[in-house]
Structures are given as C-alpha cells and as structure tokens.
Amino acid sequence: MDGESAAKGHEGFLSTKAGRALATNWAAFFLILMLVVFSLTGRNFLSIVNFQNVVHLQTVPFLLAVAETFVIITGGIDLSVGFVMGLVSVGAAKLMQLFLAGGMDPLWAIVLSVLIVLPASLLPGLVNGVVITRFKVPPFIATLGMFGIANGLALKISQGYPMTGLPDKLPDFGNGYILYILPGELLSFFVKPANFPYARIRELARFVPYSFIFIIIVLAVTAFALKRKRFGRYTYAIGGSMDASLRSGIAVDKHLVKVYVLSSFLAGLGGIFNVLQTGIGNYTTFNAQYEFFAIAAVVVGGASLAGGKGRIWSSAVGVLVLAFLENGLALSGVAPFYRYIAVGVLLILAVVIDKFFPDMR
C-alpha cells in the first residue's frame, strides 16, 4: 500500500519537497491514478462527454462538501445539509407553481422564487448556529434535529411526491451549455439550437455546462475566503483551539453562527440548482445520504473530524474521487453493489493513510 511504504521512510522522504506534496495531496494523486486505471478498464470512460457529465452531476455534492468543509474545520458537523437542500428545492418549486398559477410569466416566476428562497435558506443555519452556541447543544444533535425538521417540512410541502408542472425553461439554466456544436453544420453559443430534430439529439455535442462556471466561482470564492480572509483564519483558529480563540478575542459564538448560516446557504444554493437541473422539485430521501457523502468527501480530502484541518480544493478533489470511483467502476462493468462497498473501503483507507502522515495542511 502507498501509505505504508511512505510511512516507513517517514523522516527522509517526507522532508523532501516531493514527499510533502504527496503527503498533503495524496487524494489528488489517488484521483489521477484512478483516472489512468479506469481509462484502461472502462468503456467510454476517457471521453470529454463522460468527464463533463460526471462533474456536472456533482454540482450539488460540491456545494454540500464546501458547506461541510467550513463546519468540519471548526470541529463541528452539519447533518442537516441534505434535507435543507431538499427543503429549498421543494420550497422553490412550490413558489413557482403558485406564481405560475397566478398567471405570472415563467421567467419572472423562476427569478422571483429564487430571490425568495435564497434568503430563506439562511434560516435553518441560523437556527442551528443559535442552538449550538447559545444553548450549547452539540452540533451533531442540533443539526440532527434540523435534519428531521427540514425533512418533515419538505415532505409537507411536496406531500411526498416530486413536484412537477414547473416552468419548462428551468433546465435551460441548470442544464445549459456554453457551446453547442453539430459537426459540420452549426455552432451555437449559449442557445440550444431551436427546432432541432429530436432524432438527431445524440449528434449534438455540448461543451462546458453553466454548472462548471457556477461551481468554479463558488469554489474559488470560498477557498479565497478560507485561505486569505479573516473569516477563514477565525474558522481554523476555532477548530484548532476553542480556548485560545476565545482568549485571543475572537467572537467565537458569532463566528460559529456565521459558519452554520454559510453552510445552510450553500445547501440552499444546492437546492435551487437541483430544481434548475432537473426541472422538478425533489424532496430528499433517507437513503440519498447527501450529508454523509459530503462529509465523506471532506474526509477523503484530508480534513479531520476533530477540526482545525481541511481545504476547499481538497474537499473538491474528495468529491471527484468518490464520483469517479463510482463512474469508473460502473463503466468497467462492476455491479452497483460493489460500488457501495468500494466507497466504504476507500473512506477507511483515507483515514488510515492520513494517520501515517504528520498533520499538515
């Protein structure tokens, strides 16, 4: 195993530049290794279309992993992100249905619903933060409570069914691409060619989904805030030592509330994106386990559940590792049940390998 051999030559190898790079970024190296292996074993794995699809479908997991990264660095955990996402998704869908029924223009219905649910998505996080800081409820419990509350509310709004009858413009945003090419015939930017014969839809090549730009902006902004801004410094400080942060004058409670609000805001973005992408309002099911997979991605990215450690880009790599593991195994003809097992094994490996390396970030 990689980790063991590296651990044996601990002192010598790790002090070299290459050693440090491997130690801090093993998930990225693992991702590259995986991509190479699956390119050889997987049918149609190595193609722009496949890569594009995998990353596009990970938009929501990316958002949730970013949310979880902030919370986990403070030493907390947010179990509610998956159901907050579902709640925002059905909430936005409900509003759109109401606006459409009121005779509003579909485009305005979409814009207005988004403008209403986005601020509303701060609320679950605010409640989480206040319950955790003011009432000293452990984050696990507080967010598990919100998990149930958001789940129940989402089911109440949707009555337990996916919510349809939304503006059919929705996927134009969520599934839109920058470039459409029909080889030798047409090339179109941003706009899907109109009156396109449905039978030839497979010939139409699409490049760079909007979701790429969206997610890269989110990752860049949050990574910048975490690495270069006071907000990030406080986040690491609280996770490193709560006592030291208090004594050095950081308003710990206020900052923690902000972190949980940010987390639920990102989950809310995920919910809105979910509606835009699928064109229906989806409540979150129990076995979707979004929150756990987000936490798993963050841990694979090298964060510690004890707090003080973690990076946005590493978490993003963690999301990609889990996604390509599943996609690669599927395209290599491995039956789905082995993929569940593989994720579990990988997660354990991630933690065990991390133990061989000294703490660094």
Partner: protein
C-alpha cells in the same frame, strides 16, 4: 451516573419536588404526551393502542439500546439501520435455503435466527476493530460500514425484496403471546378458532415479549455486569479507564459487537413482522434510535445514559408516531416534531442540571 445527585437528599419539600421534576421530566413529558393524544386522537385511549405502540416500536427499541451502548463510550454507530436491513435479508435467505433442504420449519427458523445473529455480529466486530485498534473516528468507521452492508445486501437480493419465508414466521412475527376467546380458557400462542364476528382478546405481541426479554438482559449487562461498568468508565474518562487497567480496546470491540448484535436481532424481527427483507429497511430508523437515546438524557460526549431512560425516549417517539397517525395527520409531522423534541430535550436537560 445520571442519578448521582447528593444535593437533593434530605432537602426541604420544595427542593424535593424540583429534584423529582429534574430526574423525571422525560417521564412526565411522556405522560403528558399520551394524555394529549388520548384527547386528540379518536380511539387512542385504549389498551390496545398501547400494544400497537409497543408492536411498532420494537425496532426502534432494539436499535436505541444498540446505539446507547456506543453513545455511552462517546462514539456513534451510523450502521445500525443498514445492519438491520442486511440481517433481514440474510435471515430470510438462510431460512428459505434450510426449508428447501428439507429441514422442518420450526427448526429452520431457529437455525436461521441463530446463524443470522452470529453473522450479524461481524459488522460490529469490524467497526470495533477500526475504532479501537486503527483509531478511525466512529463516525467514519460506521458510515463506511453503511456502504459495505448496503452493498452486500444488494448483492444478496439483486434488486428485489428477499421473500419466501414460511407462514409460521409471519404467525410468530404478527402473533400474540396469549389469546382469550369469550367463554373458553386462554390459549398460548395459538389463535383459537371462533365463529365470525366473535372477537378474540389478544394479549402482548410475541415480538414485544422477545424484545422485552432481550432488553431486560441488556439492562442487567449495562447496570450490573463488569462489562457495563467498564463501558461507563471508558465513556466517562478514557485515560482514567486505561490507567485503571480496563482492557479498553477489547471493551470497545465488545460495545460495537453488542450494537451490531442488537441491530441484527432487529433485522430478524423485521423479517418476521413484514415477511420480507430489504437493504434500506432500517435507513429511516437511525435518527429515531439516536433521538431516543438523546431524549433519554444520554450525553453525546459519553459516560451517561441508562436503558430505562432510553426506553422512555423511544416510547415518546413511538407514542408520537401512532398518535399522529390515529389523529389523521400525515406522518411528515412526526419528523418535524422528533427534531424539535430532540433539540428541546438537550436544552431542558442542561437547564435542569444547571438548576440543581
């Protein structure tokens, strides 16, 4: 642990009352909740409702005791729900195989149950090994086990439910301990033949009896045995436990194995109740199990919690569930209310402790 409160001994009467309130507010809440539903839901104020509450509560009762052991050590077991699912499938597969091999039905049920319980300990042993020996955080170790159990379950059933249990299993799973037909002597287990329209009094579902016995055993294990004392000691102060010479690693292994054993038993009970097995049978029960333990006053940081109070927590959820169903509200409200009660319980518990 939670009852150690010397301040209230020999205190004046007002203090005694507040001490009572402090210790028993969860029980009082359960009583008030039950009374509320007696008025709110038609037909709830009825001894039969109690049996129904217990009948549908058994899975959460078993899982919450499983979770309690782990939480007392300061850990968490996210895999109990999927171990339940896996065991529901494994038990059915084994029993169906045995019956097909010509083993008599009762013997097949017995052997299948025993074999499933043995297999059911394995996920817990792996969890415990990861947590105790490899120092993997419990959250990660047991979440990985979720994936493994889910995968193995799907592998076994290939996308359909596990089915084909003999009718006797359903009779046991949905039968009662005692039947009283009007005008004749009470009968054990066997439902007496009566004319149409004559109602037979059914007393205590079988699975409730089994669950009660098992839980009684674990009450003993936790409160009277050396293993139980060690579990509290580990959760209370790990360093002190190590210095006191407690074999901490072996005990943690034992705790996760216990948790897995109880979850596995719950899986068998599920199979007998619903005569089918599926991978995500227990997926939605995990939160209820954790909530029951926390409402029952256990701390997530370990060292406290009792089976009795956990049962009260589980009953609060079970009564809520049936009460809401019988009052015609969709079950969605249950998720919201359990979430609210969960958070409030921790806040109230803290307030009560500080007021002491």
């Amino acid at each position: 642990m939670t009852n150690a409160n010397p301040a209230i001994q020999g205190a004046p009467r007002g203090k005694a009352l507040s001490g009572f309130l402090r210790k028993s507010w969860v029980l009082i809440f359960l009583a008030l909740e039950t009374i509320f539903f007696c008025f709110r839901s038609e037909g709830f104020a009825n001894l039969n409702s109690l049996q129904i509450v217990l009948f549908y509560g058994v899975l959460v009762f078993l899982l919450s005791v499983a979770e309690l052991f782990v939480i007392i050590t300061g850990g968490i077991d996210l895999s109990v729900g999927y171990i339940l699912g896996l065991s529901s499938i494994v038990s059915i597969k084994i029993i169906v195989k045995l019956v097909a091999l010509g083993v008599s039905t009762p013997l097949a049920l017995l052997l299948g149950t025993a074999a499933t319980l043995l297999i059911g300990v394995l996920p817990g042993l792996v969890n415990g090994w990861l947590v105790a020996y490899l120092k993997v955080p419990p959250f990660i170790a047991t979440f990985s086990m979720v994936g493994v159990c889910h995968g193995v379950s799907e592998l076994l059933i290939n996308g359909v439910y596990a089915m084909g249990l003999p009718k006797l299993a359903a009779d046991i799973g949905n039968g009662h301990f005692l039947y009283v037909a009007p005008g004749s002597a009470p009968v054990l287990f066997q439902r007496p033949e009566v004319e149409r329209g004559v109602s037979v009094l059914e007393i205590v579902p079988n699975i409730v009896v089994v669950t009660a016995i098992v839980i009684a055993v674990f009450v003993f294990v936790l409160s009277r045995s050396r293993f139980g004392r060690h579990v509290y000691a580990i959760g209370g102060n790990m360093d002190a436990a190590i210095r006191a010479g407690i074999p901490v690693k072996r005990r943690i292994l034992g705790v996760y194995a216990t948790s897995s054993f109880l979850a596995s038993l719950a899986g068998i009970v599920y199979a007998f109740m619903y005569v089918s097995g599926k991978a995500d049978a227990g997926a939605s029960l995990l939160n209820d199990a954790i909530a029951a333990v926390v409402i029952g006053g256990a701390s997530m940081f370990g060292g406290s919690g009792t089976v009795g109070r956990t049962m009260i927590g589980a009953l609060i959820i079970a009564v809520l569930d049936l009460g809401l169903r019988m009052s015609g509200t969709p079950t969605f409200d249950k998720y919201i209310l359990v979430g609210v009660i969960l958070i409030l319980a921790v806040i109230v518990e803290r307030y009560m402790q500080e007021a002491a």
